[in-house]
């Protein structure tokens, strides 16, 4: 790679250095905005003992569910895991360590991690099982829980468009956790639908500046839909 050209041509290059027992952030909400090809390639690589930070755990045969099935994930940090039977079974059997985290707290832990903030106080979860063992503090008459931020060895995310310098634009609700995760990975790898030349993306419309991005790979996506809801056409 020369200068600021972050484009890689193969998934091996995209995930070079990803080894057993690493902590990964994986973007997406449900199956929307997940880095499909990067997840599939982790199955091929067979890395194990992973700590995965992702809002959800995919479904049995798509997304992170594929890694769960191969028992490649040992710890999962997520907010909602209701769509995955493999997950439930591994959690109940104790094979999988699960740290359920409120969705807004998870988003903020990642945002803070990328922004160099080690911890923050939030009212979310005060007085609930989530606050057990955590420092609490009363500030201006309200109670707050101290939550530590998150970073990862790799952040694997998806965007709509990138230029070769790693500037990113997300599409609709496929953004979700991807923009924060881009900032919180030691190595951030982005899978995109389209790569353009520098100058082709309007700087006014860039969501994630290229400084956060290490590698960009172009892919085609299945974009599987979890709940296909349509109204009948008139």
């Amino acid at each position: 790679m020369a200068g600021f050209n972050k484009v890689v041509q193969s998934y091996d290059q995209a995930l070079a250095g990803l080894t057993d027992n690493m902590t990964l952030m994986v973007g997406g909400f449900g199956l929307c905005g997940i880095p499909e090809g990067l997840i599939n390639h982790m199955v091929t690589l067979g890395v194990t003992g992973l700590t995965a930070i992702s809002n959800n755990a995919g479904v049995d045969d798509f997304g992170l569910g594929l890694l769960l099935k191969q028992r490649q994930i040992s710890t999962m940090i997520a907010s909602y895991v209701g769509e995955n039977a493999t997950f439930e079974q591994q959690m109940l059997s104790g094979e999988l360590n699960v740290i359920l985290t409120p969705q807004g707290t998870l988003a903020e832990k990642i945002r803070a991690g990328g922004a160099g903030i080690p911890a923050f106080f939030t009212a979310t979860g005060y007085g609930t099982p989530i606050a057990e063992g955590k420092e609490t503090r009363e500030i201006k008459g309200r109670h707050y829980v101290l939550e530590e931020s998150l970073t990862a060895d790799f952040a694997l995310i998806r965007a709509w468009k990138a230029d070769t310098m790693g500037n990113l634009v997300f599409r609709k609700t496929a953004a979700n956790f991807n923009p924060m995760m881009a900032t919180a990975g030691k190595i951030t790898v982005v899978e995109v639908e389209e790569i353009v030349q520098p100058g082709e993306l309007d700087p006014n419309h860039i969501h994630t500046p290229g400084i956060y991005v290490d590698r960009v790979i172009q892919a085609t996506f299945e974009k599987r839909i979890e709940q296909r809801t349509v109204k009948s056409a008139k």
Binding site: F29, G30, L31, C32, G33, N55, A78, S79, Y80, V81, G82, E83, E88, M91, L100, P102, Q103, G104, T105, L106, A107, E108, I110, R111, T122, A123, T124, G125, Y126, G127, T128, P129, I130, W160, F170, R171, K172, T173, A174, A175, N176, F177, N178, P179, M180, H207, K223, R224, I225, E226, Q227, R228, T229, V230, K231, S232, A233
Partner: protein, 218 residues
């Protein structure tokens, strides 16, 4: 007669105001969107990163990149915006959403709510519910007043793991509309044809009943 799910949603919809930004939870709260009064403009916030959620798409406009928090494909209305999950919960936690409607397994006289976990049964996770109840000032909980055996879900103290502590002020059940204050449920309205006696019998937590209790109007 106890309210149907649709009637419950209809009653909640009467609490909407023109110009409100509203977050609707999964289940009965989602149905509230069907009863937004004519001529009233309400923007629906979906915590996965959409402000201005529209109706379901047609086969032609279906887009896998545009879903709601229930993972259903949706559309965006004119004036909508997309943003990250961190931005979305800044809106929620920061108290910028005018009304939040969500379901619950239990609520208690202190305004605590349990809605995310039944120990020993399936544990799905709390999703955004803990942030929603902690961040919003104006929350309406929609729920069944009692389980199918008649056991009250309006309790002196929640028995299930909490979603939020002391954060709920208004509850609309299939039997009644209640306010929570001063360590008690206060009966405001009863469902059409439901007696005050039935509500008293199915409310385990302290209940304050005024001399006259209006029937809900739709």
């Amino acid at each position: 007669m106890a309210l149907s799910r649709e009637q419950l949603a209809q009653r909640v919809a009467k609490e909407l105001q023109d110009g409100f930004y509203v977050n609707l939870g999964i289940g009965i709260p989602t149905l509230v969107a069907n009863y937004i009064p004519q001529g009233m403009q309400v923007m629906l916030q979906s915590e996965n990163g959409l402000l201005g959620m529209g109706e379901f798409p047609t086969e032609e406009t279906l887009d896998a990149d545009l879903i709601n928090a229930g993972k259903q494909t949706v559309t965006a209305v004119d004036g909508a915006s997309f943003f990250s999950s961190a931005e979305s919960f800044a809106m929620i936690r920061g108290g910028h959403v005018d009304l939040t409607v969500l379901g619950a397994f239990e609520v208690d006289v202190n305004g605590s709510i349990a809605s995310w976990m039944i120990p020993g049964k399936l544990i799905k996770g709390m999703g955004g519910a803990m942030d929603l109840v902690a961040g919003a000032d104006n929350i309406i909980v929609t729920m069944m007043h009692a389980d199918k055996h008649g056991n009250s879900k309006l309790l002196p103290v929640c028995e299930l793991p909490l979603t939020g502590y002391g954060c709920i002020k208004r509850v609309i059940t299939d039997l009644a509309f209640l306010e929570i204050k001063d360590g008690a449920f206060h009966l405001l309205e009863r469902a059409p044809g439901v007696s005050v006696e039935e509500i008293i019998a199915k409310t385990a937590g302290k209940l304050v009943v005024p001399e006259h209790v209006e029937e809900m109007k739709f």
